[in-house]
Amino acid sequence: MNTNKELIYRLSKEQEGLWFLQQLDPTISAYNVVFGAEINGELNLEKLKQTFNFLIKRHEVLNTKFKIIDGVPHQCTSTSKNFDFDIEVNTSLTCKNTIKSQINLDSKKPFDLSKDLLIRANIYSQNDNEHVLVITAHHIAMDLWSLAILLNELQIVYNALSNNETPILENTKTTFQNHVEIQESILNSEKGDSLREFWNKKLSGDLPILDFPIDKTRPKVLTYNGDVIRFTLDRALSEKLVELAKKEGVTLYMLLLAAYKVLVHRYSNQEDILVGAPVAGRNQKATRNIIGNFVNTIVLKSTFDASISFSDFVKSVRNNLIEGIKHQEYPFSQLVKDLQPDRDPGRAPLIQTAFAWERLPVIKNIETQLNDGENRNALNINPFDVNQQEGQFELSLEMGNELNGELHGLFKYNTDLFEKETIAQVVSHFKNLLKAITETPEQTIAKLPLMSKDEQEEILTIWKEKPQKYPQFNTLHEGFEAMVAKNPEAIAAVLDQTEVTYDELNKKANALARHLIDLGVEKGTLVGMCVNRTIEMLIGIMGVLKAGGAYVPLDPKNPKERLALILEDSKVPIVLTQGTEELIQTEEKVIKVDLEKDWEIIDQYDTYNLNLTTGKEELAYVIYTSGSTGKPKGVLNTHHNVLRLYSATDHWYKFNENDVWSLFHTYAFDVSVWEIWGALLHGGKLAVVSYETSRTPELFYQLLVDKKVTVLSQTPSAFKQLVNYETSLDSPKALSLGYVVFGGEALDIPALKPWIDRHGDQKPQLINMYGITETTVHTTFRKVTKKDLASPKSMVGQPITDMKIHLLDNEGNPVPYGVTGEIYVGGEGLAVKYLNRPELTAERFITDPFSNTPGARLYKSGDLAQLYKNGDMKYVGRADTQVKIRGFRIELGEIQTLLAQHESIKNAVVTVKNIQNSDQRIVAYYTTEEGTKTDDKTLRNYLTNRLPDYMVPSVFMKMEQFALTNNGKIDYRKLPTPEIKRDNSELVPARDVVELELQKIWERTLSIAPIGVTDDFFHLGGHSMLAVNIMSDVKLLFGENLPISVLFQYPTIEKLAEVIRDKKEVADNSALVQLQKGNTDKQPIFCMHPIGGNVFCYTPMVESIENDRPVYALQVPFLYQEGTPHVSVEDLATDYIKSIKSMQENGPYNLAGYCFGGLIATEAAHQLIEAGEEIASLTLLDTRSPLYEEDEEFDDAVLLSWFARDLALPYGKTLTIDPEEFRKFDTVEEMFDLVMERAKKGQIMTDDINYEQVYRYLQVYVANGAALALYEAKPFPGRINLLRATEEPLIESIGINLGWDRIGVEDLRVYDVPGDHNTMMYQPNAAVLAKNLQSIVQQREPELELT
């Protein structure tokens, strides 16, 4: 008799978590518990099946299904007495390796918790006497303890059944259901409250997220693919560990857990570490012989102090663990709910690493049994290693197993994050660490070695390449003079149309040098230079060097106050100027030489070479960089520093006299040194880029073309502007680039894709060079190739051959491969020192502890990097408060100090935050003095007058007070995410096409949407580089250059639009409006305007169209221009085809149109077909056929009411004016005034819009109305896709095909879209519309049914 009974009860908290994970991804197998055993001898399969049947009946939890009842998961346990368990038998595999592979596949098959048995068994038989049994169960019903019970009972039952006896097992005294109920009652009791309180207190504050260095790009969503590496600690080490544990008064578990924590700390550099530790959860004696998932995970937090010894640390771990175990009954899943940690779908919540100690008493018994040589069981089994439950954590360590006095362990890791060789290294370092711990447990944690001496030596000497050339000259000008002698008439530099030959430049520099010597310049004299980017700047630099001096850049673009600080620090006796005297506020004794006004004097001097005696260590320049104390600091570099930069890289670049270098950067930024001397030391040409051109990508791109530049140096930010500009062109212009050299900031390699797609990676070659002013422009070299695009890592390659780099930890020891360390740079490029900063020099320029060369130094860069085994390096970021924003090194402290000096500021913090789109911005937080008033604008102006624009914070945030750490310091982690503030609480939408276009540019550039037309650019986080982007797009769209300063003067869309309108800068061909840029490899969609003539109505729809699809719209140019609009659909179509062809020369074309626009699209299709072109798609958005005629006659009142209605529609607004309201007026002018008044009130028009403008709207509206009235239907020889608004009441009167079935369309397809004629264009309907249009364009049927 089948007595089938079902128990239904809730899930335990642990089960709930597992059930949820399985629902989230039903394919995961990370929670399959797997056991393998070799069976030697005869196997009675039938008896084995009966054994499983017996055990499943005994442990009902294995025969449980999970169902949702009343929205809550429940487990339904069957107590069926007749049950037929099946074992899958595989006899086709003959070797153990193939068996292992098959086991791996079989055991990773997921369980369907709603219908599968929670245990399955596979037998792999090589022959009659050699079998492998694999048992796979879901963790929701089975933990490791349960597995031990199962194996134990399996043998007992099998033995009994084989002997035809009744199995005798210890009675079970409880059920899993009891456990669920007890757990529930504990949680609802005072004890539960106390447990909750303990864990919530223990884990209060910010919870660290593991930052263990990974090899691969982290998947956006958590994955569970894993693998394991097993290892053994030799007997000697194992014994020492046991002894040490005894000595320290801790268990072996505690000791190894502490060691694991140290390992994770050293790899991640994190001060706080959370490690999960599974606990058996079988405190109740009765639970110890039943199967079920009782295991819980407790979270162990450790805070590291670099000075603590391991001996002390392990004791704190002991206390921590004991406390945790005492409170182990609080479920992990409940803890996650309580703490609500920040969720990242790519990471497990709360803990990402675990340490499992699996020396459970019951396991030991089983092991003994399994390894008992005297095994007299019928089932003669031995353990067979199979992998299980990998990938649950990013990395976890399981230990506890001991065989023959040797400790065994296994590292499980997620294979989507780590390479196997990295984990092998981790294993090796863990062993080294354990050995060191046993030898010197009193050593501080930071000093315990991870690497062996050999490995350390390998890392210290990984780069072995030596320079193939050395400098031939002592000074830069000698190198230049050699080029003059070689080819005096060659062009040395060009600015716009002005050129200077080598000979001319040399002679002028010689004359200037002699003048400077007369004025007192001698070797080592610092000479200030406050000149513009001109040829004179080059003469100045060369003259200073030839006179023996070193130049100190004083960029006139910098605020006066900053220039004053540099002058004060450098104490230059002479300053070269160029009409910039008023910027130089110095003591009277400082001599000023104006390179233009004083040239008559300079011209009196001889022009032949000076030939002064030189030495290679002579100073060349002092460049100032941001300093943390609020004052910039000067770096002293020598001629040799620069000269060797080219000789040491010559075998890579082979620069020569045919090269044209762009001088893109200010001479106050050291990349200019590379640019200037790259040209002049090789006989090449230097194309000087004016400030304006450097800030206008279009002009700069043209300069590259015109001047045939071959070597381009760029910060990644600047290059991004250039790529954006070029991508906007149909095809690139003829560039001559041989190299694009990146430097100055981290390179986002995937962002180079558009460039590499167009130009490949060979010509030009793309080179990433990490560098710092203190090590002379560039320090490393790495080619960037197409292969690199897949990875977001900023790889900087290897050091230049005469430089060296060590990545060191805080103790000054090398870090292992993959571990983050600080970059220390040594070699020929190291600057002399900081000017007037002996303490800082001593702190940053240290003696090289790894070199045998006397006097060898290392520069402590403050930059962090990771070293890879192939010698490549990944730039990670900064270790201190210095940051690099858009290529500029910025000491945040400098900004902070200045801000704090403002009279209204009580306290200020300046930091860098990622705002939208991962764009780094400087953010200033401040509190104000009581009784004072200030605002963001005041503070911005205050800093703008004192700092270069790249140092002015993008966002200012006023705080009531700052959150403090326990040490009383400002808690940076609690600074709020920058708030994008609007001046107005109400979002004012765009009201004409100029505003709409600007709004789109702003939203795209600032990555913020929506933006209102009265929002302030700077309050939205805008900064100078983004301003460049905006003005570049404005130029593209409206056709005129506006200086960036305009944006500072007119920082809202509304005001900027006024400027554009006033200047009448709307491009002549403005019929074409780019709604979405997309990629050039996709055919664009061209959308025709509806009757109002503008194209606002498409905006919501375009938001939902795939990003890479270009979308253009055709609008009536006469909306914003003088002229008479067309009054026929044919003429409109003819004109628009011209515009379309300017974007897409040949078909097939995708045409679409809403309402009246559908007629224009149809007519355009007719004309294109007649011209022999192909139409890819023609889509009408609720367009009535021309057969449909409006019966209603209209007068001015009706016409104006229609006009008012249609005027408002594109903005998603309603403007209803009853014709009777108009009829109250005597004149049309009065009626028109009413439209204006209502439109302004409804924010459909700006206040400044004039009558003429609106009248022009009306003209366009009427003209289109006339065109509509005049257009006649004609048969269409192709397919028309009609997207019909289902809720449009007019369908009933004009027919479901809107009249198109009556004009002879060859292939008419009609699809329904939600909404009425108007609402179909707005969200959420617009998204459906977009989806359908997209499907049509992609040449597949829309997902809606064909009607």
Binding site: V1127, E1193, F1194, L1199, A1263, L1270
Partner: protein, 145 residues
């Protein structure tokens, strides 16, 4: 005042061309803005126009100089209109040049619709009608022959 001159060619002889245009019954076929024609005594016709959303009746006085000129002038209607078609045969006699003159003074009849739009729309209509006329004549005359 709106004055429009449009010259076009018909691929037909003078006689056929003149007769076809002068036949008021053909008006609704080739003139897109005329939706109804009633012939009245004394060489008058009543036309119902549908133009720029307005429907209006006009009574025109027709005067003809056979095979040379046909003139029309409103004697009733919302506003004054007048015009003419002057016919000139080609040298070989196979084609006919038509000089179409049209003038109207709609005043405020079209209300806020700008005069420039009205003029442009009228020009467009006349140009289109001329093309329709030629095509229509070809079709009808071929059928007749």
């Amino acid at each position: 005042m709106i004055t429009i001159n449009h010259t076009f060619y018909l691929d037909h002889g003078l006689q056929d061309s003149f007769n076809f245009i002068n036949n008021a019954k053909n008006e609704t076929d080739w003139s897109s803005s005329i939706i109804q024609v009633d012939e009245l005594p004394e060489n008058r016709i009543k036309l119902r126009y549908n133009f720029l959303g307005k429907k209006e009746d006009f009574i025109l006085q027709i005067t003809t100089d056979s095979f040379r000129t046909r003139t029309f002038e409103s004697i009733e209607g919302a506003f004054p209109i007048r015009g003419s078609q002057t016919f000139t045969p080609s040298e070989d006699g196979t084609k006919t040049q038509v000089e179409w003159f049209f003038e109207m003074n709609p005043g405020k009849y079209f209300g806020i619709i700008p005069i420039i739009i009205i003029k442009k729309a009228t020009e467009k209509v006349m140009k289109k009608d001329a093309e329709t006329l030629n095509k229509l004549m070809t079709d009808k005359l071929v059928l007749q022959k």
